[in-house]
Amino acid sequence: MTTTTLPDLTLPTRPSRLRETIAAVLVGAVVLVSIIGLDIPWTELSDIPGRVAEYLRLMFAEPSWEKLPRALFETWRSVSMAWLGAIGCVVVSIPLGMLAARGVGPAWLRFVLRRSFAVIRAVPEVIIALVLLTVTGLTPFTGALALGIAGIGTQGKWVYETIESAQEGASEAVRAAGGNTAEVTRWALWPAAAPALMSFALYRFEINIRTSAVLGLVGAGGIGTMLSNYTNYREWDTVGMLLIVVVAVTMVFDLVSGSIRRRIMEGGRARAVDR
């Protein structure tokens, strides 16, 4: 290595990092406050891995397959709940979401719909299910209803965002040909947005499959209720079997639905026109 004297570099002044510093301090403060508020049993932390391993052994060393038929039946009820909920949600949110899109519905209606979607989004499915339970009682139908209502918030938002991002061109052409707003929506926006909306509908079904298990925990029926019951009975070998079923079924539905969605989004053949 030769040491040659390089000319001094004139560094530009470093930009202020005050904002980043303040953000870091704030995040740190929030973490500290949360730890204090939670009352964490520090001395028992070291026992947790061992205890988790113990329960995992109880559940999965020898899962009991005796209740499998019953579990599959309850799974079917959960899937039905998810499916009905998804259909209800989509049937309601597509027209409402379209009316909430800029350029389709009038401004006052857009405002009302968007606020309603936001309110629904703010309420978790479980809360809606708990409220409905007091009205309709303990049935899987309550779960379907809760899933249907709770989904409208997000689904409606997806619909109007998709419609608004549909390309301008075809709409202009329909308007230039003398079409009214309804015709623009039906023959320019809908063809452009339909595959994305179908895909979102299937995605809603996937989400509902996962959520339906949670709804079962509060008593809406299906596999979640069975899981909750056997956890209370402390029959860990059955709980293990149920968990395996839940995970396997969820994964299978995700896979199938996901591959259908991919096919929808990437096209395929045009629907035959039968007129």
Binding site: A170, A177, G178, G179, E183, W187, A270, R275
Partner: protein, 273 residues
Amino acid sequence: MTEAASTTQPDGVATPWSITLEDVSVTYPNGTRALRGVSAHIEAGEMVSIVGLSGSGKSTLIRTINGLVPATSGRVVVGGHEVTGLRGRALRQLRGHIGMIFQSFNLADRTSVLNNVLVGRFAHTPSYRTLLGLTSAADKELALRCLDSVGMLEKVWARAGALSGGQKQRVAIARALCQQPSVMLADEPVASLDPPTAHAVMGDLARINAERDLTVLINIHMMDLARQYSRRMIGLRDGEIVYDGPAASATDADFEQIYDRPIQSRDRMGSAL
């Protein structure tokens, strides 16, 4: 506005309309002044090209004729109807008599060619029928004839998105013809096409003008296409008319005045072969 305003002949050819612009100005909400006091009269059955650089106001001018862009001041009269005073249903009825094609074709890509062409019947059909997709036999027949007249009949069941650029523009022309229009507007119809296809589409428009005696207005920035396919040329610069005269005899100097710069190679499309 009534259907009788444009007397449709039995073979589906409507009577052409004249167009009058009186001191038309357009200022967009963002403050852009796209047109400044434009006046022109276009006879029924004329084929006129509107030449200018992008941003000169061509697209705005052509859109004031069917009311897609409302004129801020001045009068636009098409076939005896004052576009500037029309709203709602009356405006949609008028648009039904004015066909339009676009640079980016503006088809609904995910539906069939036939459904796209049937859009041309919307202004002449009750909404409940178009929304439910209930096509009358007469409308379907007309749509098929329009597709045939641009040589696209064999693609009738194809998805519009699966067509090439030139094919899409022909379907778009069929969609406009299906309106049985009295005026045809074309906004940069060949700017997205290669030279042979561009000449074919311009040839289609010239043929429509000649055969159907239709008033045709074409926005274009290619000087050779303007000279070759139109008789009259209107030059726009910064929202004002700077040339209005015969197209074939327009000199390079005339074009340089419209473009406000020397002519460049991209101002010519080139020949078809």
